[in-house]
């Protein structure tokens, strides 16, 4: 799965010389990279290396101090809000579901705002999205505080998918999930990537996720970014990368990923 070939060699998002700093503290010193249509890109890095800031910058939620982000060749700052809703979806770390709305209403919110579908069609599409993320229909009328952490993340993913965006940004999608749920979530992301042709960009610490479903991995070190396929990245001799991927957890995840890939091939 890691060696999945990229279907089209075209660029959906590119960052050009992005600089982010908070006061005197520099987080990113001019980073540039491209994201390929249809890939799953994992972003890793130590705590405080600016992963979430980078994700927010790409999603247009944070204005970089310098540089720009282009989606489909257009600067994200020029994209109108209704357009950005169908270009990109964001899954926030804690889900960020609107607590005053039911699950169904949460998913319907962008549809209601930006499309001319009637109420029934909105409901049906919302239910479709719920089914797509593997939730049963009884969840539709529940409220966010009645959901478990894993369910809330799935519902939040359904909301991010509401407008069928081209790019999906995920902020630590598997954090706070038990291993079974985390694996399920990885599979879900992978399936959505295949079936909906959606490009996935995710910030994650989860080595299993990085090894099993990501086509490429970006590592934030020394205020800059190193982006490559995982096998190539493993050969780099940067101390942080070595420690991250070749530490005991990295080795464990690598073995698990190989077994997983073999199991998948066997089926």
């Amino acid at each position: 799965m890691t060696t999945k070939n990229m279907k089209k060699e075209d660029i959906i998002l590119s960052a050009k010389n992005v600089v982010n700093n908070f006061g005197k503290q520099i987080v990113h010193k001019g980073i540039s990279f491209d994201i390929v249509r249809g890939e799953i890109l994992g972003i890793a890095g130590g705590s405080g290396s600016g992963k979430s800031v980078l994700l927010k910058t790409m999603a247009g939620l944070h204005k970089p101090n310098k540089g720009k982000v282009l989606i489909n060749g257009r600067p994200i700052s020029n994209i109108a809000s209704f357009e950005s809703a169908s270009l990109l979806g964001v899954l926030f770390q804690e889900g960020a579901l609107f607590s005053s709305l039911s699950v169904e209403q949460n998913i319907m919110l962008p549809l209601r705002e930006y499309t001319s579908l009637n109420e029934d069609e909105q409901t049906q599409l919302a239910q479709l999205k719920l089914a797509l993320v593997g939730m049963d229909m009884e969840t539709a009328n529940k409220y966010p505080d009645e959901l478990s952490g894993g369910m809330a993340k799935r519902v939040a993913l359904a909301r991010a998918l509401a407008m069928d965006p081209l790019i999906l940004f995920l902020d630590e999608p598997t954090s706070g999930l038990d291993p079974i749920n985390a694996t399920g979530f990885d599979e879900l992301i992978c399936n959505l990537n295949c079936s909906l042709q959606v490009t996935v960009v995710m910030v994650t610490h989860d080595l299993n996720t990085l090894f099993t479903i990501c086509n490429r991995v970006a590592v934030l070190v020394d205020k800059t970014i190193i982006i490559d396929t995982l096998p190539n990245l493993l050969k780099r001799d940067h101390p942080w990368i070595q420690e991250f991927f070749h530490g005991p957890r990295g080795q464990g995840a690598l073995v698990a990923a190989k077994n997983y890939a073999r199991g998948a091939d066997g089926n």
Binding site: S99, Q127, L128, K129, A131, L161, D164, Q197
Partner: protein, 370 residues
């Protein structure tokens, strides 16, 4: 993308779809496709070879077309990726969730009134038991004075009392000016303009001072209690306290209760003084009564009893406001919406209770001749 056009061409029994079949073209495609009908019972063939983008909305439309309409459709020349998505959507069990039967509007109104009425008793029980618990904790804390959180109490006295000095003074001053002005308008033609002073002194000391202060503090500090404790509840800080072995009641409720019982009487005293001062301003400017004369008149108009009647009520109101505020803070559950809801209930309830208690006090004081 939206700048690409969707074109649907019909040629007898052949339909050719060109361009993106996605959420943005959902309406357009639906209208065209659902109107299609041929007289005989043969299927319409839809050629999808030139569809550039198919998303879940488009796949859903095709799914509906094939399953929900009388006319038969046959989908052909799927792009393999699109076919995979269509099969995924088609294979899903999209049974609708059970729809709750909605009652008619008048029935719902009756139900709501009924529910609200039924809720009065549990709410009263809840408040009374919370107050009982507060007394127990207070007695327990008095036995062991070190358990009082003096730092916390002084912090709250500052937030409730000192920070409110300006606004309480202003309100008491303005209200007594309004009262005095209206009073002298009525009394002047009767030749009893000096009674304006009696009016001001008695009403400010007995009622207005304490009542306005209590209402202001209920809105200002009672709501803050609910929101503070509620936000802590949402962020699981209350559970964290419990896990470290603290009693949230002792740590969160008692200091606020004690601080408010200290601060409200002091603010009432301030409001009384400012109220009398406001009266003096009006007397000076509208009924030509100099300050010494005003004070002399006021001293004869009221006794220490009138002052006492006002001041006795202050700690009682403080107790009720603190109790309602803290209780609703601890009632917050889970969502941030619930913080807002509980805060609203807390303010409304504490002001309501303050007014009810004030009425009861009036009757009681009249009976005992105060």
């Amino acid at each position: 993308m939206s700048h690409l056009q969707l074109r649907i061409e019909q040629n007898d029994r052949q339909v050719r779809i060109q361009g993106p079949l996605d959420l943005h073209h959902f309406q357009q495609a639906k209208e065209i496709l659902q109107q299609m009908n041929v007289s005989d019972n043969k299927a319409i063939i839809i050629d999808l070879s030139e569809v550039t983008r198919l998303d879940t909305a488009g796949a859903f439309l095709l799914h509906n077309l094939c399953n929900a309409t009388k006319q038969q459709f046959k989908l052909e020349n799927f792009n393999p990726e699109h076919k995979a998505l269509f099969d995924l959507i088609n294979g899903m069990n999209l049974a609708s969730p059970p729809i709750k039967k909605r009652l008619s509007s008048w029935a719902r109104t009756v139900m709501r009134i009924g529910k609200a009425t039924m809720a009065i008793w549990p709410a009263t029980y809840e408040l009374v038991s919370f107050m009982g618990r507060s007394w127990l904790m207070l007695v327990k804390a008095l036995k062991r004075p070190t358990s009082f959180r003096f730092a916390s109490i002084t912090h709250h006295v500052e937030a409730i009392g000192i920070d409110a000095i300006l606004i309480i003074s202003l309100i008491a001053f303005v209200i007594s000016i309004v009262l005095a002005y209206q009073g002298q308008v009525q009394l002047k033609p009767l030749g009893m303009k000096q009674y304006t002073v009696d009016l001001i002194a008695i009403s400010v000391l007995r009622e207005m001072g304490v009542l306005l202060t209590a209402i202001m503090i209920a809105g200002r500090s009672g709501s803050a209690f609910t929101a503070e404790i509620g936000a802590m509840k949402v962020r699981q800080e209350v559970d964290a306290l419990r896990s470290i072995g603290f009693d949230p009641f002792e740590l969160l409720v008692l200091p606020r209760l004690i601080a408010l019982v200290i601060a409200l009487p002091l603010l009432t005293l301030l409001a009384d003084i400012m109220g009398l001062f406001g009266g003096a301003m009006i007397s000076l400017s509208l009924i030509d009564m100099a300050l010494p004369e005003y004070l002399e008149r006021a001293r004869h108009a009221v006794t220490w009893k009138d002052f006492l009647v006002g001041m006795i009520k202050a700690p009682v109101f403080a107790f009720v406001i603190a109790q309602v505020g803290c209780m609703h803070g601890l009632k917050v559950s889970g969502s941030s919406e619930s913080v807002g809801k509980e805060t609203t209930i807390s303010v409304v309830k504490s002001i309501f209770l303050v007014l009810i208690l004030d009425g009861l006090f009036s009757i009681y004081f009249q009976k005992v001749g105060l």
